[in-house]
């Protein structure tokens, strides 16, 4: 028999070095996955664009120039100008800031609410779990983007409200996911051991259960950012999200629609930007899912 201290040490020793190599294994697997690397490169490019936008273009995303309104793509304005003479390329570059911010912030909101609720629901079970699951059932009854639209209808139109709305709309996904992982992890022997050692519930959840749920959360978050970007662009397109003059891709696309016969560059390129950013997150998510799944790692 180990003494009490020896057991605790054994548990933590087993975990720390293992997680380290785990991370390296995941990266090694991910690096071999060409599609995932393509996704990662796309995302890094978007990140660089978002950071260095003012250095990439000398135009201003908001400054109007009516003399050059609706100009077709040319050498100076490679993706043309919009109806107020603003450089389309510049607005798309700056738009990556908005889309990345919406994706990251709304997913963070969803995670901050959904993960703890799901963890507690799964860990404690019983009436609390039933209550939470019924509430989630109700939220899930609002299909797709609809829950986000409902929240915007309540909070009002605007980009901050879109972030909150999309974040709230992703809470059910995290709650279900984490609850499921916790349910499977909490039956493991080492959790029982930790309990037997008298370790508090909070510590067990944070130190011993959550690290094992991290994989699914990371994978889901990657996909969720993609969804959040699509939904936010959709809300922008409907006029419920970003307001002028913000260069938000969904809004730009919807405003450009009335010039589709003469200046389709105003609808084509913002849409392509959304597509590539979403594709980047999806490809990375696919790769992470394979890399974090030990089964597929072994067989491939």
């Amino acid at each position: 028999m180990f003494n009490e201290k020896g057991q605790v040490d054994a548990v933590s020793k087993l975990q720390t070095p293992k997680r380290d190599t785990e991370l390296r294994q995941v990266w090694r697997h991910l690096r071999r996955n060409r599609m995932a690397m393509a996704g990662l490169i796309v995302l890094v490019i978007f990140l660089l664009i978002a950071i260095f936008a003012p250095f990439i273009t000398q135009h201003d995303p908001i400054q109007r120039d009516f003399g050059r309104a609706l100009d077709l793509p040319s050498e100076e304005h490679i993706l043309g100008n919009d109806w107020l003479g603003r450089d389309n390329f510049t607005r798309i570059l700056y738009g990556s800031r908005i889309s990345l911010a919406i994706g990251l912030i709304s997913v963070t909101i969803g995670m901050l609410l959904g993960v703890p609720i799901g963890a507690l629901s799964g860990y404690y079970g019983g009436r609390f779990d039933i209550l939470i699951q019924r509430v989630i059932d109700i939220l899930i009854a609002f299909p797709g983007i609809l829950l986000a639209i409902v929240v915007v209808a309540i909070l009002g139109v605007g980009i901050e409200n879109v972030m909150i709305a999309v974040g709230i709309a992703s809470v059910p996904i995290y709650t279900r996911l984490v609850r499921g992982s916790v349910l499977s992890v909490k039956e493991q022997g080492y959790v029982a051991a930790a309990k037997a050692l008298g370790i508090g519930d909070a510590r067990i959840i944070i130190r011993h259960i959550m690290p094992n749920c991290l994989g699914p959360i990371i994978v889901q978050s990657t996909f969720q950012i993609a969804t959040a970007i699509l939904w936010a662009a959709g809300l922008g397109f409907l006029g419920l999200g970003a307001q002028p003059p913000d260069p938000e891709w969904g809004r730009m696309l919807s405003d450009g629609r009335q010039y589709i016969r003469t200046a389709h560059h105003l609808t084509t390129y913002p849409g392509l930007a959304i597509l590539f950013m979403v594709l980047g997150f999806n490809l990375l998510g696919d790769g992470l899912r394979d890399a974090l799944d030990p089964r597929s790692r072994k067989y491939k």
């Binding site: 019924r134 509430v135 059932d137 109700i138 009854a141 609002f142 299909p143 797709g144 983007i145 609809l146 639209i149 409902v150 915007v152 209808a153 309540i154 909070l155 009002g156 139109v157 993609a226 699509l230 662009a233 959709g234 397109f237 409907l238 006029g239 419920l240 969904g250 696309l253 919807s254 629609r257 589709i260 016969r261 389709h264 609808t267 084509t268 913002p270 849409g271 392509l272 959304i274 597509l275 590539f276 979403v278 594709l279 999806n282 490809l283």
Partner: protein, 311 residues
Amino acid sequence: MYGYILRRLLLAIPVLIGVSILVFAIIRLIPGDPARAIAGVQASPEFIEQVRRDLLLDEGLHVQYYVYMTNLLQGDLGRSTFTRRPVTVELLQRFPNTITLAATAMVIATIIGMSAGIISATKRYSLFDNASMLAALVGVAAPVFWLGVMFQLLFSVQLGWLPSGGIGTWKHLVLPALTLGLATAALIARITRSSMLEVLRQDYITTARSKGLVESVVTYKHALKNAMIPVVTVMGLQFGTLLGGAVLTETVFSWPGIGRLMVDSILARDYPVVQGAVLLLAVFFVLINLVVDIIYAFLDPRISYGSKKGE
């Protein structure tokens, strides 16, 4: 079996009540004075008072909900603050259009998605497989409203083959349904492919082949049925995405459905119509899920109909 269906029906009731509470809450949660928000910026104090009285905003919440539910169960969803017409009339006029659009999109998605998925799985790593899986990746990532606008540009503006919007003939339905269905087609193709590949690896398939059965019999008779289980699940879930996506597609193609009505009403602060549209879409989605669960139980004999769900 009937016990299982009955139990699923009973489980849907609390969800429907919850949905009604959330929809009821929509106008009560508006920051500031809801009556002022609903009446509009330029409303006279008398009109604001009238809205407050109509919605019983001075009564207790339980009274408000009781009256709301009583009216709701009698099919009374209030009147549009904009057109002054009953909300029920507005909704019933447009609901068939949304159903037509979503159902056609689903049919298109199923045909394209399943055929692409099956061919991809049986001809793994072929040119077709690679091309269709790449198309599926793009299909999932492309914003539905952008696809719609691009189809308008190609088929209406440049080729002039199909109308760019509105409703009337079957030609009006083609572009919106195709737009709405493509993302779902992409998902169905991916799920069908991976599910087929999984099933084709099973021992019973090897047995079927070793019996000397023709490959097409193995694929369509032995593999497909079992491979369909995850596909049906995804289709059920996707119907919700389709209903959500319909909001965007209807806006692109000026399709007079529930989604567009809802967005217009949010922008016009016509809250009774917003509530009605949200309620209708959510209730419809819950019912669709119910049907999917029941179909699922028929398809997968492992699901027990007894007291315990799952294996």
